[in-house]
């Protein structure tokens, strides 16, 4: 109970801090739009500045310092300039060119068409690396035990052990079955990495890497590869391909000619459906995690932007509601990490099942 109270206080301080400077910044930015043109921000810009990935990592406290008389430049790490050698553009300035209407809904392709191939690390890279290091630190300090040290010592080891056991018993073994044991490292890494990224974004000045669709897509690609490899290994390459035809490969082989023709037609129908079925899973994973994190931060900063728009009494309102949303976001960060891992385990379980108990076509095509 006392720990919970402490945690709540820490959260409150964090969010008040964040809210305070966000509001300060918003005030400073919005107060005299004409004068400080370079710093002026519309609410939209304010929000997008905080929820969107960027090549600059800016520490946003200078407005508060200005209040106490310290006038300093906003300390910013210009990742884009630092790694400018990783930017490849054929006409110079192609990466800053607006995307043409044809590609307006798919900016990456539009930018490629403009002649921009950008490999520079962004804020999301940095946050990902930070959370990766943090997770690594936690894991290595609490999980790296001698196999003879059967009794955990300290809260860290106990928590780590409980976490691994939870992943093993409640996620891997429950959804994948007895074969799930070997996927525990993958699922646990996935869970803790996502959780680290989700929660890092709640620390003032930091950014949720999972709020970038590309990051969640990268994770989903890992899940896709693991589940498809599991499917091929359990059903065999022939069984896997047979599964792709929706079982119509059997129908094409035997029977009267007209039935074979129908089978073939159905096969043509089923193959794209099965492929879409495979691809839709990582897509769902990508979108769910990204949308939750992105939307959470969007809501948080929209509430804080109220101070920018209205000021005065709204300042306090945005702080209070912001705190509530902040705490809620902490929960959502944990929940989404869990859901991502859970769904991954279910997909892997489905893949493992492909070879285990056949639908007829699997058994027929697979190696007996």
């Amino acid at each position: 109970m006392r720990t919970a109270t402490k945690l709540l206080v820490v959260c409150g301080v964090l969010v008040l801090g964040q809210g305070a400077w966000a509001a300060e910044e918003a005030e400073g930015a919005g107060a005299v739009p004409g004068e400080h043109h370079a710093e002026a921000m519309t609410p939209q810009e304010f929000i997008s500045h905080h929820v969107a990935d960027s090549y600059d990592w800016e520490f946003e406290y200078p407005e508060l310092l200005k209040k106490v008389g310290l006038t300093v430049e906003a300390p910013t790490i210009h990742l884009g300039k630092l790694f400018s050698f990783l930017k490849f553009e054929s006409p110079v300035g192609a990466c800053a060119m607006p995307v043409e209407a044809k590609y307006s809904q798919v900016p990456p392709i539009g930018r490629l068409a403009n002649g921009c191939f950008d490999l520079r690390p962004s804020k999301a890279h940095l946050m990902m690396a930070f959370s990766g290091l943090l997770v690594l630190l936690l894991g290595l300090s609490f999980g790296n035990r001698k196999s003879s040290a059967l009794v955990p010592t300290g809260a860290g080891q106990n928590l780590w052990e409980a976490f691994i056991q939870f992943i093993r018993d409640e996620i891997a073994l429950r959804n994948i079955g007895p074969k799930g044991e070997k996927y525990v490292p993958f699922l646990a890494s996935l869970f803790i990495f996502i959780l680290g990224m989700n929660w890092l974004g709640l620390v003032p000045g930091f950014f949720s890497a999972t709020g970038s669709m590309v990051v969640t897509a990268g994770l989903a690609v890992c899940v896709l590869v693991v589940s498809q490899v599991a499917a091929v290994r359990s059903a065999g390459i022939l069984g896997y391909l047979a599964h792709l035809t929706g079982g119509m490969n059997e129908m094409v082989k035997t029977g009267p000619l007209y039935l074979r023709a129908i089978g073939f037609a159905l096969m043509l129908l089923f193959i794209p459906i099965e492929i879409v079925g495979i691809l839709v899973k990582p897509f769902v994973l990508t979108m769910r995690l990204f949308a939750n994190m992105f939307a959470g931060h969007m809501v948080l900063f929209s509430i804080l932007a109220l101070a920018l728009i209205s000021g005065g009494a709204w300042y306090g309102f945005s702080l209070v509601i912001g705190t509530v949303i902040y705490v809620f976001e902490t929960f959502v960060g944990l929940l989404q990490a869990f859901i991502f891992t859970l769904l991954s385990s279910i997909y892997i379980g489905l893949a493992e099942e492909m070879g285990a108990h056949g639908h007829g076509h699997d058994e027929a095509a697979g190696h007996h």
């Binding site: 969107a52 090549y55 990783l86 930018r111 950008d118 970038s212 990268g218 890992c222």
Partner: protein
């Protein structure tokens, strides 16, 4: 206006900035970062923990099993011992009873023997006494006959027919011997 990343990206690009959204490098870096993290964690943090978990589970299971086994063994042992103790007690009682019976028998035997010996001795003595007495009586009779003959010879001083007198004397003596016994 929707502030989806697509819109944000367009907004930034429209303002002449460089959008970091949808970076190709980020996708690759995510995968690489995750793979490195997965590799290190699974080898140094998750693997060891899983080993420990498994080992401990096995140990607990083993401990419970062995405790059960030992308990059943102990119970069996206890039952065996109870049986052994009761057997020993029974045997001891049997032994005591047997010993008592033996003692009794031995005593009886001894007593019987002693009694018999005493009896024998008595009978023998009696026999001896009887024999001695009979002998003495016979001798006495013979002596008396001789004496009576001598007395008769002296008294009568008369020579008698040996056979006739012998018979008479015999008759006399036998009458004489009958008198005290009768």
């Amino acid at each position: 206006m929707m502030l989806l990343p697509v819109e944000v990206s367009k907004l930034v690009l429209a303002n002449g900035g460089e959008s970091a959204e949808f970076g190709v490098g980020l996708l690759l870096m995510t995968i690489v970062t995750f793979l490195i993290l997965f590799g290190i964690l699974s080898k140094f943090a998750i693997g060891p923990t899983m080993t420990v978990l498994k080992r401990r589970e096995e140990q607990i299971k083993e401990a419970i099993d062995s405790a059960k086994r030992e308990r059943s063994e102990a119970e069996k042992l206890l039952a065996d011992q109870k049986v052994a103790i009761s057997q020993a007690r029974q045997e001891a009682m049997e032994q005591v009873r047997k010993t008592q019976a033996d003692m009794e028998k031995f005593r009886e035997e001894l007593m019987g023997k002693a009694r018999k010996e005493a009896e024998d001795l008595k009978a023998e003595s009696r026999q001896l006494i009887e024999g001695e007495r009979a002998k003495a009586v016979t001798e006495l009779r013979a002596e008396a006959a001789k004496l009576s003959i001598l007395v008769a010879e002296k008294l009568l001083n008369e020579k008698l027919d040996d056979g006739k007198h012998q018979a008479l004397a015999q008759q006399f003596v036998s009458e004489l011997s009958k008198k005290p016994t009768a």
